[in-house]
């Protein structure tokens, strides 16, 4: 087991059923994450990023969602084989999740102190009520909110502070894996910078591994070690942030970079990606990006597209790299 990565997801497939139609949300996703490192999952709306995180946390509602196949190993143990009772132990303690919207992630009828203490008490039964409350106050101070505000309710806090409380709840039990689902999308840039810096500092302190879900490539560049580009429930390109940002190879990754307005260079026109994302209720063959790709050929529309190793830890699932080593 010694060389095994800390988290490893193998060929994960998730489907939703709605109106008797299947929605293919995650279509064979595999990736790994080392201890103490951060992985960015980047993709557009509906790419399946949140579904991947919820599968790891095992909080997908079933039905409508169904994990069709795959293995998720955390520290050598397959989470998908665990009973719900085991998962109750693992959730919050080993794996914690930060949700996108801090406004709806907190219980409006409980004080924030109670909400942090609840997690602590659930996972450490030996603690007295008072000790759990003390720990809650400690956590609040760690995320930069004065402990005396533990008796206040969520509505008394600003958006940025609520998100910090959500983070305090997530980190209260020193989880080994943190799933952060667009943790700063609802926040302003200056507050976003504060929150990202804080997550990073705390992560260094307790050696947590993190999966950061976002659609913002800038946030990935500032926070992550490795990055996976997700499209239509598939990973099209992955590697370290340096590998992918220095040499984006998949036409979709390149399209994403090209469509961003740049701060440090003058462009007269942006280059949008033509077309629209796939209808997820249609099972595709070949590359999911082929209908929008200018360089697509017949080969792209049939059979399985294999991952090509571009060097280092850089992989790209594109026929063009398969043929020439580089697209």
């Amino acid at each position: 087991m010694g060389n095994n990565p800390f988290l490893s997801v193998k060929d994960l497939r998730v489907e939703y059923t709605s109106d008797k139609k299947a929605i293919y949300a995650v279509n064979g996703v595999s990736f790994e994450l080392e201890k103490g490192k951060s992985l960015g999952l980047v993709g557009e709306t509906g790419a399946g990023k949140t579904t991947i995180a919820k599968s790891i946390m095992r909080i997908l509602q079933c039905p409508p969602a169904c994990i069709k196949s795959g293995e998720i190993y955390l520290d050598g143990e397959d989470l998908l084989q665990k009973s719900e009772k085991d998962m109750l132990e693992i959730r919050g303690k080993e794996i914690a999740m930060i949700f996108q919207d801090p406004m709806s992630a907190l219980n409006p009828l409980m004080t924030v102190g109670e909400q942090i203490a609840e997690v602590v008490a659930t996972h450490d039964k030996s603690l007295s009520k008072h000790e759990a409350e003390q720990k809650a106050i400690e956590m609040m101070e760690m995320v930069g909110i004065v402990g005396s505000r533990a008796v206040e309710f969520p509505f008394q806090f600003s958006g940025g502070m609520k998100q910090r409380i959500v983070i305090a709840i997530a980190l209260a039990c020193n989880p080994q894996l943190l799933l952060a689902d667009e943790p700063t999308t609802a926040l302003d840039v200056t507050i976003q910078a504060q929150v990202l810096r804080m997550i990073k500092d705390l992560q260094d302190k307790i050696e947590t591994s993190m999966i950061l879900i976002t659609h913002d490539l800038g946030v990935v560049a500032e926070t992550c070690d490795t990055v996976n580009i997700v499209y239509a429930g598939k990973i099209l390109e992955k590697g370290t942030v340096e590998e992918v940002f220095d040499a984006p190879t998949h036409p979709y990754t390149r399209g994403l970079f090209d469509s961003l307005p740049k701060l440090n260079e003058k462009t007269d026109r942006l280059t949008p990606i033509p077309g629209m994302p796939l209808d997820p209720s249609i099972k595709f063959e070949g590359c999911p990006f082929a209908p929008r790709c200018e360089r697509a050929t017949d080969r792209c529309r049939q059979g399985e597209i294999h991952e090509t190793h571009l060097g280092g830890t850089h992989y790209c699932s594109c026929v063009l790299c398969d043929q020439r080593g580089e697209a």
Partner: protein, 317 residues
């Protein structure tokens, strides 16, 4: 070039339980024909309120609004209808700003019918065909309903409705922030093309600084209802002067992994504009604040079209 929009000491206050919210406080600006004024700031700083007050969707508390030199601050009835033809708005959320029970064609034709400029159904029909091809909506979507379209197409419908009567001034209220980046680029290109073809004047409200840099001629930075800095777009990014502008620009996450910039992390959170104290509202978070910052601040000219509202701007450089 003549200014299309001029506002002088514009104020918009809202009465709230805790007192008075100074959402827009004493703002003066000029927008020249064919240019884009970007307005940036964090949520709650009053940027949307400013835009909506200018196009008279909200009643101003004090100050003046001039459209092509004509004072429209108190325009009513028929005059206001005429003013509205010249000033339009594109909303942030293409999902909630379209009537789900109206077909796309009905939505876009409504302003044409209200204007009474078209004599027959056939004329309206022709006008819609033209508008659709201008904004890039396929004619087969004429009878479609909003729920049948994706976000990018819906936003095109919102744009079609706004430009249907050939306005001079369009207030764009975060028009791309609900869209994915690949679609966002296409909508930004469309807005810039329309501006060129029709000599449109825009006010572009957004919190996305790379978008605002791309589209704007001039940029105004707001903080809690006040204008803290206004400058030509490139100059603002090359030489930000107000401490808030500097902090804001340094906080943008950059995709450039080899040139890490030093982030200026601000202390604390945005306070509120309810019953504010006199003086600079950024002072409680500002690393350079002194006694003098509690006095009311005036905009100082520091370059051509570049104004800053900070009493320490000269010494800080």
């Amino acid at each position: 070039m003549a200014p299309v929009i001029e506002i002088r000491n514009l104020k918009k206050y809202f009465g709230v339980a805790a007192g008075t919210n100074h959402a827009v406080d004493d703002i003066t600006m000029t927008i020249e024909k064919g240019t884009t004024m970007g307005v940036v700031g964090e949520s709650g700083c009053g940027k949307s309120t400013l835009g909506r007050t200018i196009i008279r969707l909200l009643e101003p508390t004090a100050g003046n609004i001039l459209l092509n030199g004509e004072d429209i601050t108190h325009a009513k009835g028929h005059q206001l209808t005429k003013v509205r033809e010249k000033m339009q708005i594109i909303f942030q959320d293409p999902y909630s700003s379209l009537n789900p029970r109206m077909s796309v064609e009905d939505t876009v034709s409504e302003p044409l019918v209200i204007s009474k400029k078209y004599k027959s159904k056939a004329e309206i029909n022709d006008a819609i065909t033209e508008i659709f091809s201008l904004v890039g909506i396929d004619q087969r979507f004429r009878n479609a309903y909003p729920h049948e379209m994706d976000g990018g197409r819906r936003q095109r419908v919102g744009i079609a409705r706004a430009i249907a009567l050939n306005p001079e001034f369009v207030m764009c209220d975060e028009p791309v922030s609900a869209l994915d980046v690949s679609v966002q680029a296409a909508v930004l290109n469309l807005l810039m093309d329309l501006q060129e073809q029709r000599k449109l004047t825009y006010m572009f409200v957004t919190h996305d600084l790379s978008v605002v840099k791309h589209i704007s001629t001039n940029i105004s930075v707001m903080y809690l209802g006040q204008l803290v800095e206004t400058s030509p777009s490139d100059e603002l990014f090359d030489m930000p002067l107000h401490p808030y502008t500097k902090a804001l620009l340094s906080a943008i996450p950059s995709t450039d992994i080899h040139h890490k910039k030093e982030q200026i992390l601000m202390k604390g959170e945005i306070t509120s504009a309810i019953n504010p104290k006199p003086g600079c509202r950024f002072a409680p978070r500002c690393p350079h604040a002194t006694e003098a910052c509690s006095q009311p601040q005036a905009l100082q000219e520091v370059g051509k079209n570049h104004f800053v509202s900070c009493c320490r701007v000269k010494e800080l450089g």
